[in-house]
Subunit: 367 residues, 2 copies
């Protein structure tokens, strides 16, 4: 069995709390499965700003470069909210990390167990069996990084700002491949979301995706949808999707809409995979919960650790190729929450709830 | 009382069906209120393509230029879906109309009567009193019209597409004014939505909006939210918003998410106001239902005419300054649907429903 060499970036507020439990679960599994763990913890986000003057300290970046994967917590919160938007911890940590490691593929499961439909804002009759979709978001292209990206003063004294959305064929093809592979392991349906009635980038996106699937994945079902309609359909009937596939900006918006519809951010994790391979020949990746730092409940020991634990599972699957162990962790979480009914406050619906540590204990007991 | 001179563009499928009823309601009100109506009907959308080879025929555009407002139905459908995205009726009719008349301000009420909460995909306990918010969307700037907007072939043979998002101070200020005026007539709260942690245009947007409100509307409550969070908050708790205010692309996505959360597209209308004044010194505007052409129910006489009738009310309010009559129509619709319980199939929840004409009759009876 390989040595798992990864960087641990817990971040701020509940970040370290849920990370502690996720690592405890992983240590337990490692013992069972004879895995050797080799990880180092470093500051990121607000902790980076406070301790090193930078949301992504050089030492943290260096550590990540030595590793085969990054296990990320969450960053930001009221302590740093007075900073300008672009210096805020989440942005100032995540965007450079995505760029440094070419993390072009964001994979976000939209999963709601059928036992937890009460947690969704959607009427239960719309999702009687819960929700089970996946959002694939392009993460290093589009309007996030396109140039020019400038603000200038016009001759009449007004200011004018410009952002540029850019995509080229190869960028679209490589993320189309991720969508296809994901769909192949599931319902074999990909819905590609764009705004081809308005955007040139979307016209290219639609054309490249269509050609790529026709050539390489003709057996998968590919459909196209405009982004405004996708925002409607997600809230109407999320399970009409299998794999929802889109560019960076649209994915930012739709994946968050999907997450909230799935009821508890505390249950959702995500993977951001790079173009590069790690020392095991697997994709280098960053794995993180979908939710934030929850400052209101930080320090109370009540945060839901499931999303962070599920991030560990995704790391094992994608960056270490340990699918069976990933499945085992996911099954243990599901059993603890759904069958055993052990739940943190965010998914207890006013019934008896447990703390962060007890939630992890219940998961460990199922491993 | 003034003469109401407007162009009627019914469009496709159910477009003409609901337009007939909306005009019948308006004729009724005109008689009561001593208004003179002067309108001409013209083809647009698919009807434009079929009869004149163009989604926005020159003759239709000329007619609109003679008018003080445009009452629009809805356009598009399966008959034209094989056309390339940019030639599809909705896009090819609406974008040139917006550009021709500088329709920079899209005002979309997100209204769900408390009696209709069953129609929303959201759990009733999230919206016990229905929904009452408004989305103000910038409609002629941003990435829809910014240049360059091109596709080129790179040296290595790949294609690359570019779209450009541009905003300048004056464009932001004039739509901020619309948001402020709207909020002033309601809950006095504006939430401005941007992506200032990533986009230059959003940094400028946030800065200009903040300064504009501080200077001109210091008594209104202004807050800012990132677009991904707004997509979550809309689905979690829509009534936390009063006026939701954003740029073109974000508004396209969020206003549709808002609409679906309000349950029935058949109940939602919108106004798109121009920078220019009509012959009465009021804003020239285009008024249309939020929903589409509903090809599946076209020709059956069962479509919900309320959205088109409410578009008439918005036209009277914004382009003709007839607030009292607009209010009267809105009250008649509300009473018919909520109090009288007269409903078309889309809002009948399996109970007894009426057709398009009977729905309009019930509204007329309340006038
Ligand atoms: C922090 C921000 C830059 C980031 C994004 O917009 O991508 C975040 O919202 C996300 O989705 O991971
Ligand atoms: C048809 C399309 C160009 C249009 C838009 O994106 O603005 C439509 O979706 C709308 O919202 O009115």
């Amino acid at each position: 069995m390989p040595t798992l060499k990864f960087a641990v970036l817990p971040g701020d507020y509940i970040g370290p709390e849920v990370m502690t439990e996720a690592l405890r679960v992983l240590e337990h599994v490692a013992k069972q499965e004879n895995l050797t763990l080799s990880y180092t913890t470093a500051d990121v986000g607000g902790a980076g700003i406070d301790n090193h003057g930078k949301a992504l300290p050089d030492s943290t970046l260096a550590l990540c470069k030595e590793a085969d994967a990054i296990l990320f917590g969450s960053v930001g919160g009221p302590k740093w909210e007075k900073l300008p938007p672009k210096e805020q911890p989440e942005r100032a940590a995540l965007l450079p990390l995505r760029k440094a490691f070419n993390l072009f593929a964001n994979i976000r499961p939209g999963l709601l167990y059928s036992d937890l439909t009460d947690a969704s804002p959607l009427k239960t009759e719309r999702i009687p069996n819960g929700i089970d979709i996946v959002c694939i978001r392009e993460l290093t292209g589009g309007i996030y990084f396109g140039l020019p990206k400038t603000t200038t003063t016009l001759e009449n004294g007004e200011e004018q700002a410009v952002d540029t959305m850019v995509y080229k064929t190869s960028e679209i093809e490589r993320i189309a491949e991720v969508a296809a592979v994901t769909a192949r392991s599931r319902g074999k349906k990909v819905c590609s979301v764009d705004k081809a009635n308005v955007l040139e980038t979307s016209v290219l996106w639609r054309r490249v995706v269509t050609a790529y699937f026709a050539k390489n994945h003709p057996d998968l079902t590919l459909s196209h949808m405009y982004v405004d309609n996708a925002a409607m359909q997600l809230a109407r009937d999320p399970n009409q999707f299998d794999v929802l596939f889109t560019e960076n900006m649209f994915g930012d918006i739709l994946s968050d809409e999907m997450a909230v519809i799935c009821g508890s951010l505390g249950m959702l994790s995500s993977a951001s995979l790079g173009t590069g391979k790690n020392s095991l020949g697997k994709p280098f990746g960053l794995f993180e919960p979908a939710g934030g730092t929850a400052p209101d409940i930080a320090g109370k020991g009540v945060a839901n650790p499931c999303a962070q634990i599920l991030s560990v599972a995704m790391m094992l699957r994608y960056s270490f190729g340990l699918d069976d162990i990933a499945n085992k962790i996911e099954a243990a979480v599901r059993k603890a929450v759904a069958t055993d009914g052990v739940r943190t406050g965010d998914i207890a619906f006013g019934k008896k709830s447990v703390g962060t540590k007890a939630m992890a204990d219940a998961i460990i007991a199922n491993l």
